[in-house]
């Protein structure tokens, strides 16, 4: 199917950001040619049209827009550029002939109403220029205090504000009616006057002329009966693009009077992954050398549209390749479908010992013991992988490990909210996982919490987050993957959320009452009651309007599922109904994505709590299926984990073939991860046989049982745990650092444990085991496998050399294994 039969795999190093696409070879002949739009109607308002010329041959689709010749029958009416853009010259009707590639085609162009739109409208005609030229970007005049005293609303979401800023402020110097050309709006961006942002506008060009005319007309805010913009679309919406291919995008604005307008030249474009496919200012996408998929966003006036480029791996896989892959459940089917689109191969299944270690680390947060390893490796049952998953999900350590992950997200700093309070909260979180509380119930109890901070741990959420806006950001981000934080102060730049949405959502928390002693750092030791009160409201910060609780989506048309707030009830109950409803896909999918990321090393959406149209999942069908599966199971977290870990895909090797080494997000192989700080600490101590004493914890406690991240531990700090001082709390990083290498290598604390008289090294050395047996035990404990012949050869020398000391040899062997990546990483 691939047009370009072979293309050497090029490793990533300095990809030119906007490479010119390679035209299709001249001998390539399409079976059909499509011209979009099929016929073109232009007017004064809509005076330009980007054409898209698409050639098809079998499954191959090629953008020929820049690859054909255009001829205008009546050149007095329109002209057309080599890149397929029609520009109006006069009223009338003509035909544009498209030649090349053997198949003639044509398009009719009709130009009328040239005077329409002569009277300029700020929102329709002027603001798009400010957006396109970057004037209202966050780094320029769109930032909070503006730039050099001139402030525009971020990305132009507030036209009234922007109009005032231009016309009413600065004593009329920005637009100067007496001498329009002397307006700062024209002299600054053209560089006539010094401009910190450099030259942004061509003197005398089309946009300059439009701005000048607008000032001459008296800088009107709006024209009567101007239709409003209702949506923006992109064409095409997706395409498989072999490396080097180009695709011109066409961006169309749709207005309330059903009129449309080509705004490709006014839109701004951004690729989520320019190493996969880059995009130019004029909307030309070029597939780069990296195999994968990326979203390319086009934004126009607060609306956006997304084009998905899939860049497949050059070359072919044998016929029937995907059909022959093992499918253990729905997860496999969806992953293979995604891989097929990109022509990626699948790695071999991981050997048993790797699967065993992976499952232990992922599900209960430690490596298996020698005994557990032997039992699994020697078990002949073909069902043993599934049995292992069930066994691990039933262990008490499961709850501690997963509660520890949720504690990262929820548990505040005890110095701020109180020690007893945080301890109670920690207990409540752990209890939920011990009982395998359904996730919807967990969230419902949390967001509708009532009671005492000294008895009901989960009310701590409301002790920590004291105002409706503080709760809003955490609830929307954690449970819906919607980052509303931006919309607190300005319209979300890549989303539909504005301040209205934010404060309507916040209104669900307006009536939360608090009684008792609030935060009184440094101890904050007192008790506080959280209850559903009857008064309180949230006001819009700009309009002062009292906001009614309103969910983020599900408008009037979905009034059955979108609750209305009633007096006398806790609005939070309505919110919980809406949030945890099976009709709300975001709820299940956000959790599914989080768990997927934990188990598979990477989310289907990254960052895991940022689900939005402009940040699409790498495999949307899979995320949807996982969400549905999770919801249908009654939001059973163990079920979700089981669905993922019993798939074939979970058990794949991390070792790539030449057909998937480039894949880092489609799960064609297992992605290695450094063990999480607690997992590493607990595993290390388990192997060496000396537990770590944590201050304020019972002896023998494991790291994953710690009630706060403020418990002192150099080890955990070195390997990274979230800083509860940080707001918002951060996901932890799995980066490796030189400090980590140094700590494992040289830490005095670890060293003294290894040499301790109670350590496993001494026990092994003083036992009557043979050197072979000792080496095997150590390999089983650290790597969850037996040593091979060669490894045995190397390590036995430690014991058999002249003057060898069994204990020192065992210590050195343990040190060496514990410092290798095979221990430090989940593979």
């Amino acid at each position: 199917m691939m047009r370009i039969a072979s293309l050497l795999l090029i490793t990533v190093s300095g990809i030119a950001a906007y490479a010119e696409p390679t035209p299709a070879p001249v001998e390539w002949q399409p079976d059909t040619i499509d011209v979009l739009p099929a016929d073109v109607r232009l007017s004064g308002l809509s005076n330009r049209q980007q054409l898209l010329i698409t050639g098809r041959q079998g499954e191959d689709v090629v953008d020929l827009t820049r690859d054909v010749r255009y001829a205008v029958e009546t050149p007095e009416i329109v002209r057309i550029t080599e890149t397929g853009v029609i520009e109006v010259k006069a009223e009338g009707r003509t035909i544009i002939r498209i030649e090349g590639r053997g198949l003639p085609a044509s398009v009719t162009v009709e130009v009328s109403n040239l005077s329409e739109g002569d009277a300029l409208d700020f929102e329709r005609d002027i603001q798009p220029i400010l957006g396109r030229r970057g004037c209202n970007a966050g780094a320029c005049h769109g930032k909070q205090r503006g730039q050099n005293g001139f402030q525009l609303s971020l990305l132009g979401f507030d036209p009234d504000f922007d109009h005032d800023a231009l016309v009413k402020e600065a004593r009329g110097r920005r637009v100067f009616f007496a001498a329009p050309e002397a307006s700062l709006l024209l002299t600054k961006p053209t560089g006539v006057d010094p401009h910190g942002g450099g030259v942004r506008l061509e003197m005398g060009g089309g946009e300059y002329e439009l701005l000048r005319r607008w000032i001459v007309q008296g800088a009107p805010r709006r024209q009567p009966d101007t239709p409003t913009l209702v949506s923006v679309t992109v064409e095409p919406t997706s395409r498989v693009m072999p490396s080097g291919d180009g695709q011109q995008l066409l961006i169309t604005a749709h207005y309330s009077d059903d009129s449309t307008r080509d705004v490709t030249h006014l839109a701004t474009f951004q690729s989520n992954e320019s190493a996969v496919a880059g995009v130019t200012e004029s909307g030309l996408v070029t597939a780069e050398n990296i195999t994968g998929e990326t979203a390319v966003m086009a934004r126009y006036q607060g609306f956006f549209a997304v084009f998905t480029a899939s860049v497949p791996l050059p070359g072919d896989l044998p016929a029937g390749y995907y059909n022959n892959l093992p499918r253990r459940n729905f997860v496999d089917e969806h992953v293979y479908n995604g891989l097929q689109r990109l022509a990626l191969g699948v790695s071999d299944p991981a050997p048993d010992h790797k699967f065993l270690r992976r499952a232990y680390v992922d599900i209960i947060g430690r490596v298996p013991t020698v005994q557990e390893t032997r039992a699994f490796l020697d078990d002949p049952s073909p069902e043993k992988r599934d049995q292992l998953i069930d066994h691990l999900l039933a262990q008490p350590e499961y709850a501690e490990h997963w509660a520890n992950k949720w504690a990262d997200l929820l548990r505040p700093n005890p110095y701020r909210v109180g020690i007893k309070t945080v301890l109670n909260y920690d207990n409540w979180i752990r209890d939920a996982f011990r009982k395998n509380k359904p996730y919807d119930q967990f969230v419902r109890e949390l967001i509708t919490a009532e009671g005492s901070t000294w008895k009901d741990g989960h009310v701590t959420l409301f002790r920590d987050r004291r105002s409706p806006d503080e709760i809003t950001t955490i609830v929307s981000q954690l449970f819906l993957g919607i980052r509303l934080e931006c919309a607190k102060c300005h319209h979300h730049p890549f989303e539909v959320w504005g301040q209205d949405d934010f404060y309507s959502f916040a209104a669900f928390f307006a009536k939360v009452g608090r009684k008792g002693t609030g935060l009184s750092t440094p101890i904050s030791g007192s008790e506080e009651m959280i209850y559903a009160g009857s008064s309180g409201g949230v006001r819009h910060p700009l309009t002062g309007e009292l906001m009614q609780p309103r969910p983020l989506f599900g408008g009037p048309s979905e009034s059955e599922t979108a609750p209305e707030s009633q007096s006398g009830t806790d609005p939070r109950d309505d919110l919980a109904d809406w949030l945890t409803s099976k009709d709300n896909p975001f709820f299940a999918q956000t959790m599914a994505n989080r768990v997927w990321a934990d188990l598979m090393g990477r989310g289907l959406v990254e960052p895991v709590d940022d689900l939005r149209a402009t940040n699409p999942p790498t495999n949307a069908a899979l995320l949807e299926a996982l969400g549905n599966d999770f919801a249908e199971s009654g939001f059973d977290i163990k079920h979700l984990i089981r669905s993922i870990t019993t798939s074939s895909v979970y058990g794949l090797s991390s070792l790539p073939s030449d057909r998937n080494v480039v894949d880092t997000r489609n799960f064609s192989r297992h992605y290695r991860q450094r063990l999480r700080a607690e997992v590493l600490a607990d595993s290390w101590c388990q192997i060496v046989g000396i537990p770590q004493d944590y201050p304020g914890m019972p002896p023998g406690s494991s790291a994953k049982e710690l009630w706060t991240h403020r418990v002192k531990s150099q080890f955990l700090d070195t390997f990274g745990r979230p800083d509860p001082n940080q707001d918002p709390p951060c996901e932890r990083t799995t980066d490796t650092t030189v400090v980590q290498a140094l700590h494992l290598m040289n830490s005095r604390e670890l060293h003294s444990k290894l040499l301790d008289d109670a350590s496993w090294a001494r026990q092994l050395a003083e036992s009557n085991r043979t050197p072979e047996q000792i080496v095997e035990e150590v390999y089983l404990a650290v790597y969850s496998r037996r040593p091979d012949e060669e490894e045995l050869q190397i390590t036995l020398d430690l014991y058999n050399n002249e003057g060898a000391d069994r204990r020192a040899a065992t210590e050195d062997l343990l040190w060496a294994l514990l410092n290798t990546p095979e221990f430090v990483f989940e593979d």
Partner: protein, 441 residues
């Protein structure tokens, strides 16, 4: 506000300094260069390292660098001013050593802010950004990366050494915030005044001999069988760890690097000069780390929150403080390192003018004194002034933002840089990227 301020916001004294700086061939260039920063160019570093001495609790400005002999007794306190080497500049009486070398550093007397709690004051001075929500005294908060973490982020090294040390603990807001754990300080909690002191993790633990370590290292190499995925596109994290192990081995086996950490190799006289106490020896260790190429070191020194019995405490505390800081500056100078090492001494804020009923002074963020030495800063100057009773900075009023911008500019980091949080939000490194011109000379 100073009445000497001209319309450009620069005081006449400041112009004078710039003019003088120009004569020596640096001032004007720097001024122009700073003006050019808006276009996104990073300043040339003047300092390669920074030692930040944090006096936790908020040291009194009256009893240190800003005595007010003409104020009423209940304000001026028990100490008298003394003359310094620089005519017209006086310090409080216990800073005799620093007074004798007052030509080698500057004191800013006019930084003021609005955060009177330890948590908030620490955050503002340590990050250059005010805390976003009210912060109490016991709080440890972080809304913005600290000076040290940011320096580590922009100036990461390849020599295996951590880029940001903090001793003996991280200060409250001294963390990396959104930059991530990679840029957290490397904390050395142990006391270098003890005989068995070693810098943790950078050298072999305890009694382990090099030969046995070499043996372990060879063994590790022989048994390390996990296949690496070497194609960079695969992004194998194991490959990154390999690099760090190599750096770690180099560090452990390099006699020069090991010497840098080994404070016991220092001449006894030098150790005495810094003061045989944990603070003095930490300052000495900081100097050694600077020599080893560490770009940022914070010394966090507690016990400056003198709400009670301030004068007794200061009589005890100030002489050793004076000795250590003066020795650090002189020692760096003698070794030719002062020009490339920025030394900062500060706390959260100053202290209240009126002595309270318990003989102490309380928190006061309207005025504070900050010592700045080295890193190409001109010495022998006092920047700004408080009013005659020390209530408030009134002349050449400066902000924590100006302070942070100065530190970044000195270290070759553009204070106007825009960083992106994990939320994708663009964040200015410093909201007011104007460095203190008097220090940029």
């Amino acid at each position: 506000m100073s009445r000497y301020r001209n319309c450009e916001g620069v005081s006449r004294r400041c112009c004078l300094k710039l003019g003088l700086g120009g004569l020596f061939g640096t001032g004007l260039v720097d001024t122009l260069r700073l003006a050019g920063q808006a276009s996104g160019t990073s300043p040339e570093p003047q300092a390669t390292s920074c030692i930040l001495v944090w006096l936790d609790g908020g040291p009194t400005h009256y009893e240190t660098f800003d005595p007010k002999p003409l104020a009423p007794t209940e304000i001026r306190g028990e100490f008298h001013p003394i003359e310094t080497k620089v005519p017209g500049i006086s310090f409080s009486e216990h800073l005799t050593r620093l007074a004798a070398i007052a030509d080698k550093f500057s004191v800013i007397r006019s930084i003021r802010h609005n955060q009177g709690n330890h948590g908030a004051g620490n955050h503002y001075m340590m990050t250059g950004a005010p805390p976003r929500i009210p912060v109490g005294c016991g709080s440890f908060v972080s809304f913005h990366p600290s000076l040290g973490s940011t320096t580590a982020y922009f100036r990461s090294q390849q020599n295996g050494l951590p880029s940001y040390f903090s001793m003996p603990a991280m200060t409250r807001s001294g963390g990396p915030n959104f930059l991530g754990a990679k840029y957290a300080p490397f904390v050395v909690p142990d006391d270098p005044n003890k005989d068995d002191f070693r810098v943790r993790d950078v050298s072999l633990p305890g009694e382990l001999e090099m030969s046995r370590f070499d043996h372990r290292r060879d063994l590790r190499a022989a048994i390390d069988r996990l296949p690496r995925i070497n194609e960079p596109v695969a992004g194998d994290p194991v490959v990154a760890l390999d690099g760090y192990y190599e750096q770690g081995y180099t560090l452990v086996s390099s006699p020069e690097a090991q010497a840098a950490f080994d404070i016991h190799q220092e001449d006894a006289k030098v150790r005495d000069a810094y003061g045989r106490n944990s603070f003095g020896q930490r300052a000495l260790l900081a100097r050694r780390l600077v020599e080893a190429g560490v770009p940022f070191i914070t010394l966090s020194e507690g016990g400056w929150d003198h709400h009670v019995s301030l004068f007794g405490a200061c009589r005890k505390r100030l002489p050793t403080f004076d000795q250590t800081i003066a020795t650090l500056i002189e020692d760096l100078d003698e070794r030719g390192r002062l020009d490339s090492t920025l030394v900062l001494v500060l706390g959260e804020f100053g202290r209240t003018p009126k002595i309270n009923v318990r003989g102490g002074r309380d928190h006061w963020s309207n005025a504070m004194s900050v010592l700045v030495a080295g890193g190409g800063t001109p010495g022998g100057q006092i920047i700004g002034a408080t009013d005659p009773q020390g209530y408030s900075a009134v002349d050449r009023v400066l902000s924590p933002e100006n302070f942070a911008s100065t530190v970044y500019s000195k270290l070759g980091i553009d204070p106007n840089a825009v960083l992106y949080t994990p939320l994708g939000r663009p964040t200015h490194l410093v909201s007011d990227p104007t460095p203190i011109a008097e220090l940029m000379g």
